[in-house]
Each structure stands twice: as C-alpha cells, then as structure tokens.
C-alpha cells in the first residue's frame, strides 16, 4: 500500500515504530502533488489551458525543502529512540491564511503577495511540534471571502478533485481538495461561516469547526474576529480527532483561546451512540433567501437527495441505539446569513484597514503625491473585488447613523440564534440533545463560474453552517452519500460548547456503520 493511502493515525504509528520512514511518506506525498496538482496559484496567471482544467491546483507555495528537513528530523529521532509526537511523519497542508515563519503568507491576496511572515501561527507551530510534516500553503478565497475558492488572486484557483469542472467549495478549498486528492493527509483550515465544513462536504472529506476559543487564532490573518475558528480537515474522524488534540488549548498569545482542558479525543472514539439523543430540525431542511429581483423572501425545500442523506444518517444512528428526536425547532436559522452579512462585514472592514502599503505587503508602484493618494492606489490595486465589497458594507452598516439599525440589531439576532441551540441542548429542557444532525450544504458542488460574482447567492451556500459560527458551538461535516451527479453529499453534526468529543464519537460510529455502503466505494476523478 502506498504510504499516502494510509490514514494519518496509521502513518504516525508506523513511523514511530520504525516500520515506515517520514521521508518515504513525504516522497509519496510529493509524487501525488506532482501528478495531480498542476500549476501552483500565481498572480497574473494567463488563460487556463485544458491541462489546467484537469488539475487540482490546491497549492500556492510548496515548501518541499522545509518538509524534507522536518521529515529527516523525525526519522533521526526515531532512529535515536527519542520520543516523537502523535503526528510523526504525517504530511500536512496549511491554508494560506496562517503565518508560517520564513514562508510567504499571502491570504490569497495581491496585497500580501510579497509578505513573508516573521512568526508562526500557534496552531501550525503545535502541529509541527507534534511531528507533522508541513508541505506548504494551500489556496483559498481571497482573505477567506467566499464559498468557492474562486476569488483567490492566485490562479488557477483550486478545483474539485471529484470533478475538476466543479468548485471545491470554500474558503478552505485548497485544504479539502489537497486531502481529497491524496496530496496531504491532514490540512489546517479556518471556518468563519462554514469555510471548513462546506468545502469538506463538497470534496467528500471530514471537516471540523471547533468551538470558538478551542484553537488559538494567533497567526491567523483575521477576517471576522468573533467568528473565525481554525480546524482540521481529514480523511476520517479519527484523524480529525488526532489533529485537534495536537493543536487545541489555551495560548498566552490569544486572549480568546479558552482555558478549557483538552480531553484525549482518541479516547472518545469507539464508545458508540447507544442512548444518545440526536435531533433533526425541519428548519434545516429548507433554505430561505431573498429573490434577487423583488427582495421578497423565497423558501425552498432542500433537494431530495440531500434530505435523504441526512435522514439515512439518522436511521443508521437509530439502529446503533441512538434516540432520534424529530421536529426540534430552530426558528432563527433563516436569520443566520442576514446577521452574518452585517457582523462579518463590520469585523472584516475593521481588520482590513491595517493594509495600507506602509508596514508590510504591497505598495502601489505608480506615482503618488502624498500619503492619502498612496493609500488609495495601494488598496485599489492590492485588494480584489470581494474584500472591497466587504469593507464597503462593513463601513456602511457600522456608520454612526446606521449602527443601531443594522449592527446592534444583528448582534441581538445572534443572541436568538444562540438561544435556539441553548434550548435544544439544555440538560433540563424539552429536547436534551447530545447533537443536532443536519445537511451541511443546500447543494452539491456547483460548476466553476456558475455562482461566482453573485455575492448574495454565494453567501447562501453557508446557510446551514453559519448558525454554529454565530453560536460559537462546534460542528463537523462528514461524507454522507453520493448524489446522482456523482458528487459527495455532506451531513453535519453540531454539539454544545467544547463537546467536540461528542462529534467525534457520533461521527466515528456513523462512519464505521456505513463503511460497506455502496456510495463509500466511489472515488474522486483524480484518484481513479
């Protein structure tokens, strides 16, 4: 078996035991990258070729030399009989929104294209310290602003390994595509409205948004500071649990990283779901969005295949002894996106004012007469349209005369979204759920260019994932089936604050119970 066909857990076990070297694993990963990835994302890339359209393009910056040094260091430790970490020799890709010392850290934006980070993000530092081999930086939507990865300034943007005419989802599209295509065993992504879970669903892998505060944001280039969560992308639940355990926990560099003990997540696996209460909500079986012409609200049932995959997951868990609680009311779900349009934009605008062509990053190359003109030209040339749109919206809805109407109201609606979950999970409440089961996305992966440019429709791809970000609770997306278009369908579980263990427990039970189902035999196009 080629090393890249192993799980991260198995790989670390074999490397620790000296049965497999970290270098052999790395060589296997680099071979896969050479075979399937194609041109790395580049500024001012010309027209795409037919070959480009058939490749994955997960990477912006491959740091092979650094990876070789890390693999050699792991192998030397094993040979010397020294302790190596739980991720020994496991190839990892990192979304290019995290700083890694001495490595370009671009946020997929022209404005940071020349920025080489002088420090390493805590999550990356912990994963490397656990023995992971950092392959390099993978592509994303510019500053994470999107749900398809198409808005990257570094083209070709990432394509879906199941069908390269489709988007991988986003914004962690490079992360999920690199894991799906067998280029990395694990990837570090971020989730602000669904940016790990939605592309995980589109690419048929496991993606976890941990509880807000579970993983440090130090070294994460900020978008929505009250919503951003670093989290794992993996091929299976155990690998995701292994990765979270290696990077979670308080951090003196991030005052929002919570001082909550990190359990042994691997110990939560294999416990089964007997007696657990798993909820289903009709509010997650539809989406509500404004008609682009009239602004009138349109309510649409989800496609039958998406609903069926979720109900199938419920049946599987029921057979394993879980109690399925139907008709759990989550009445504020539909307000998740409207509230997000306000809150995330205000936070984005605030965070993006720092890019000014003075301290680091891009400065205009054209003439300017004074500081103000330099700012204007630098920001006009350095930011793409999506960051500009977010900055303008954030400034408008937080302006003194509108803030009460928009921003304050959105923050109060956020309380209501949180209260839906509080009621569903309350130990003394009517529902007493351990987890809520929902579809991850309203559709399977859409065609490249089909939605891009329509910022409203694109945002609604996150309607079923964004409530967890508002509420701060953890959520996981798991492969749950294959649709008639041959593309993966994701199912999502959400749990109370810091109950990632529950998600791993339920997720692994579902995974193991469905291991022989036909849809599990389907393989991504680039893996056939």
């Amino acid at each position: 078996m080629a090393p890249m066909a192993l799980t991260a857990f198995e790989t670390a076990q074999k490397v620790k035991a000296g049965e497999l070297s970290a270098m052999e694993v790395l060589e296997s990963a680099l071979e896969r990258i050479a075979a399937v990835d194609g041109q790395p994302g580049t500024l001012d890339y010309g027209d795409l070729t037919d070959e480009d359209r058939a490749k994955v393009h997960a990477f912006i910056t491959l740091t092979a030399e650094k990876a070789i040094q890390q693999a050699e260091a792991v192998d030397a430790k094993v040979r010397a009989g020294e302790e190596v970490g739980p991720l020994a020799g496991v190839p990892l890709s990192v979304k290019d929104i995290f700083t890694v010392k001495g490595t370009p850290s671009t946020a997929a934006s022209r404005i940071l294209a020349n920025f080489t980070a002088p420090y390493t993000a805590t999550a990356v530092q912990r994963l490397e310290a656990a023995g992971a081999i950092n392959l390099g930086k993978v592509n994303l939507d510019e500053f994470t602003y999107g749900s398809s990865s198409e808005s990257s300034a570094f083209q070709p943007s990432t394509r879906n390994p199941w069908d390269t005419s489709r988007v991988p989802g986003g914004s962690s599209g490079g992360s999920t595509a690199s894991v799906t295509a067998g280029e990395a065993m694990l990837s570090l992504g971020t989730d602000t409205a669904g940016s790990i879970r939605q592309p995980a669903a589109f690419c048929g892998v496991v993606g976890l948004k941990p509880t807000y505060g579970r993983v440090s944001r130090y070294g994460l280039i900020a978008f929505g500071s009250s919503l951003d969560c670093p989290g794992p992308v993996a091929n299976n639940v155990r690998d995701a649990a292994l990765m979270l355990g290696a990077m979670a926990g308080a951090d003196p560099h991030d005052s929002t990283a919570a001082k909550v003990p990190v359990p042994d997540y691997l110990a939560s696996l294999g416990k089964g779901v007997k007696g657990m209460r798993i909820g289903l909500s009709p509010d997650y079986m539809q989406i509500t969005f404004p008609d682009p012409e009239t602004g009138e609200l349109v309510r649409q049932e989800l496609p039958e295949e998406i609903r069926a995959a979720t109900l199938h997951a419920a049946e599987v868990l029921a057979k394993l002894g879980a109690e399925i609680v139907e008709d759990v009311p989550m009445p504020n779900t539909a307000y998740g996106i409207p509230a997000y349009f306000v809150i995330s934009r205000v936070e984005a605008a605030s965070n993006l004012h720092r890019y000014d062509g003075v301290k680091y990053g891009y400065r205009t190359q054209s003439d300017y007469k004074d500081l103000k003109e330099m700012y204007r030209k630098t920001r006009a040339e350095g930011f793409g349209l999506q960051p500009k749109l977010r900055i303008l919206m954030g400034m408008y809805v937080s302006a003194a005369q509108y803030a009460e109407q928009y921003y304050a109201r959105a923050l109060r609606v956020r309380s209501l979204i949180r209260s839906d979950f509080d009621a569903a999970f309350a130990a003394d409440g009517e529902y007493r759920l351990d987890a809520l089961l929902t579809p991850t996305t309203p559709t399977t992966a859409f065609k490249m260019a089909d939605v891009y440019g329509d910022s409203v429709l694109m945002q609604y791809a996150d309607q079923l994932t964004v409530p967890a970000n508002h509420a701060g609770i953890p959520g996981i997306s798991l492969p749950g089936g294959i649709a008639s278009d041959g593309l993966p369908i994701g199912v999502q579980f959400m749990a109370p604050d810091f109950a990632e263990e529950t998600l791993f427990q339920v997720g692994q039970a579902f995974e193991q119970a469905t291991v022989d189902e036909d849809w599990r035999k389907a393989k991504p196009a680039v893996m056939r």
Partner: protein
C-alpha cells in the same frame, strides 16, 4: 424599489475606505451592496424582545475559561530586522511614508 446606496453615498463610502474604482467596478460593487442589503432587511422581521442582549461572542467566557491579558511587560523583539524588512520603504531603520496632507482646522 430605489437603491439604498445611491451613487453619491457609494462615492462617500469609497472615499472613507480609501479606494478608487473604474465605473464598471463601481457599478458591480454598488449593485452587490444593494442586493446584500435586501437580505439584511430580513432582520427587521425578527421580533426582538427588550431584554435580548447584544452577543459579541457566541460562547460566553467565564472567570475559569478566560485566559486573561498578559502582564504589560516589555520584552525585546527577537527579530526586528525581519519585521522592518517587510516594509516597502525603510531608511536608517525608520519606516518611510509619503508626505502627509495637512488640513488646517478652524
């Protein structure tokens, strides 16, 4: 329905944000802003009781879970030149900016 963000208001926001656009970009951005605001107006339909608080975070921090602030102590930066080397214009270890326009206040 008239646009909430008309061309004049859009121009004002563009100035505040220190941007510049060609007409095509400006039209796209203004249209998207107005479309997004149509979605945002759904929030007006939400019945909000007087006592619903503003949530700056979903998860509440407690005395036990809050990391707290570090002590305000001076620590030397390990690699100031790595940081200075990122600046577009540096002279004698000072970051250089163009002339700053002055506005005389009354």
């Amino acid at each position: 329905m008239s646009d909430e963000i008309n061309p004049e208001l859009f121009e004002h926001l563009v100035n505040l944000a220190a941007f510049a656009f060609d007409p095509e970009e400006a039209e796209y951005l203004r249209r998207e802003l107005n479309n997004q605001l149509k979605a945002v107006h759904q929030l007006e339909n939400v019945p909000l009781a007087e006592d619903v608080p503003l949530a700056s975070h979903g998860v509440t921090y407690t005395a036990e879970t809050r990391t707290g602030l570090r002590a305000d102590e001076w620590e030397p930066c390990e690699n100031p030149d790595d940081i200075l080397s990122q600046a577009p214009q540096v002279e004698n270890r000072y970051i250089i900016v163009p002339d700053i326009p002055h506005t005389k206040l009354d």
